[in-house]
Symmetry: C2
Subunit: 382 residues, 2 copies
């Protein structure tokens, strides 16, 4: 595998660098999805997810799919045609979540912000009313690196419209940003495997509160999806957690082994430590970006994520040139994704082992590659 | 990884045993889904899939998900509410495909057969009419091991109702049974990675004919799914095939590397040879089963699959006893799956490298484990 020998550090906002033990789990030999060796691995992974999401009774659901599938699960299981959804939009992923909700018949109201900003609590409060079945918050919009204040928004919703379900898109936040399902009264937090969870892409992972499950059970209309329907997945999750095999669709066995390995690593240190580490490394990266005189996509560091950094190219630097130059130093960073400014900025991911295991020097190498590359391209800084 | 040292041969009808190089690809280090190293791997895999499905212009679609997701793709992209679908039912998977089609608004007519049998051409002809938007055929029903004669059915449909789309569930057949998309005029063949494709579970793979794509494009109503909508996936497939990166949802990078490795292996010998090998090994296994005096679930060998064998337990043998005894000889075979007879039969998978690389002795070891186990349990044969 020549690609392995010339490996370039993958410092994009997902997929992130994976631990060697996680990769070894990915190559677990063929194992039956209902075998005595696999069942406890899946069962334990479900239990460990509760720890990562800080919930006692939330129901983890793990399905073969991309993170995107989590939107379908929310939209098809929790919304009935004609019901109202309030979408807080801080970038590309807010747009897409809104589009997904509409496909399943939701009437969507969006609270949009300028690129690099997030809806203010006042704007959210103004838009919020008891007519909304659910509100969605993109915790970190991977396209802009903007961080939402989930805790404050959840408190606001509890006060102003306590029956509104609180749904968090945590694809780019779970494992890197503080998130507490029970304490913050969240109803769904959805994520994917390939970011701070530290597992190759291919798992759609979510937690549903007891209230969310009840809402699903109380539906008056049938779930308008087959693959995404919780009617199929809940019995599977219950079965594996009680250490029994059961079949709906073949689970992605190797990815579940990898998930188990990574969740054990994640839960081996206090989550508080993990979040602090991500904050500290984020500060380190952002301090360098500032010292280079570059401009963040988020309008301030207060609204910036801790697991990634989105930065405008300095004037005169061509996107392809910088990305290629950085790659020539064996570090891969990402281009822009938000349609309106895609060619104007780049993104650096700093999540998972790149953050929690500083001895790997991923962050140092990334900073060095970026700094040198800018210099090579003739950018002299501020 | 202790599970690796005590590996038991996985001889169930999927997941099958995986080649070492495929497993090595599964542990490919983190790689950006839009990087110059990954894009050609995905692009080439799309091209290689055309060879495996024997089609020139069919459109491969590869999505993160279980095989089940293929039903959602068919039902949500090709059927509009109120349209008619004819489902040929030869087991559990026919039931489920019908259920999926109904979720998306299809009016489903089923042609059912007795367990172990398949609808006859006469029964299909009697049920078939031009009112059907599509007909679905389970090529091999994994629950019963019954093989359908796709070629003959497709010819019948072309004669009697040429506008009806022909959809084949090839989850348990692609790579082990002869299937020719263009020559047989098939419109969709869907499959999954973990059977004769030889890649760990987590990929939903299908081929759509130009006519199927046109049917999708001509829809009068919006696609009632977000994740399964071809509107999102077709541009992605086109982009990667033309060696460009594009984003809808993060592809399962490691699984795609593994797919690429396996497809190269599969296409390195003529498909005819591959199908012959599967027939020969199937005969070998079935001859042993017969010589032991055991009864097949399929009513005759003519309607039995070549990639698996479903067998009733002999009288007096408890299901758990036999499966455990076989496992004690380091071979895993599967219990029953069809609800009506689940506790009465077992299933052996013989697909992929276990068939094409006889030097591995997987088949010999499986036959020995089964024969010895039956003897150990006091079964003396006919």
């Amino acid at each position: 595998m020549s690609s392995q020998q010339n490996h370039k550090l993958c410092m994009i906002p997902g997929p992130v660098e994976f631990h060697e033990d996680v990769l070894t789990s990915m190559s677990t030999k063929a194992t039956s999805h209902v075998s005595p060796s696999f069942i406890p691995v899946f069962g334990e992974s479900i239990e460990l997810l509760r720890k990562v999401f800080v919930t006692e009774h939330g129901q983890p659901i793990v399905v073969s799919g991309s993170g995107t599938l989590g939107w379908d699960m929310v939209a098809s299981n929790l919304v009935e045609p004609g019901e109202e959804a309030l979408v807080l939009n801080s970038g590309y992923f807010g747009d897409s979540f809104a589009a997904c909700l509409k496909v399943y018949g939701a009437k969507v109201t969006e609270v949009k912000s300028e690129i690099g900003d997030r809806p203010t609590l006042q704007e959210i409060s103004d838009a919020l009313s008891t007519k909304f079945k659910l509100i969605t918050i993109t915790h970190v919009d991977t396209s802009t690196g903007v961080l939402s204040d989930v805790k404050a928004i959840a408190e606001l919703v509890k006060k102003k419209s306590p029956n509104t379900l609180i749904v968090v898109d945590g694809v780019c936040s779970v494992g890197s940003e503080e998130i507490r399902v029970d304490e913050w009264n969240l109803d769904v937090v959805l994520t994917a495997s390939q970011k701070a969870i530290g597992v190759p892409p291919g798992l759609s992972i979510l937690i549903a509160s007891e209230r969310a499950i009840q809402t699903f059970k109380d539906r008056k209309t049938p779930v308008p999806s087959y693959y995404a329907s919780w009617a199929h997945w809940l019995p599977i999750m219950h079965a594996y957690e009680s250490r029994k095999g059961m079949y709906f669709a073949t689970p992605p066995v190797q990815l579940i082994y990898a998930l188990n390995t990574s969740l054990k690593q994640i839960t081996s240190t206090p989550l508080e430590t993990r979040f602090e580490q991500h904050k500290k490394v984020s500060d380190q990266v952002k301090n360098v970006v500032e010292s280079l005189g570059l401009q963040f996509v988020p309008k301030s560091r207060e609204v910036a994520a801790n697991g990634m950094t989105a930065v405008y190219y300095p004037e005169g630097i061509q996107p392809a040139d910088l990305l290629q130059k950085v790659a020539s130093h064996n570090v891969v960073i990402a281009g822009g994704l938000h349609r309106a400014i895609a060619s104007k900025y780049f993104r650096i991911g700093h999540m998972g082992i790149s953050v929690t295991e500083p001895e790997r020097k991923h962050i140092d190498n990334t900073i060095a590659a970026l700094t040198t590359s800018l210099k090579d391209l003739g950018y002299s800084g501020k």
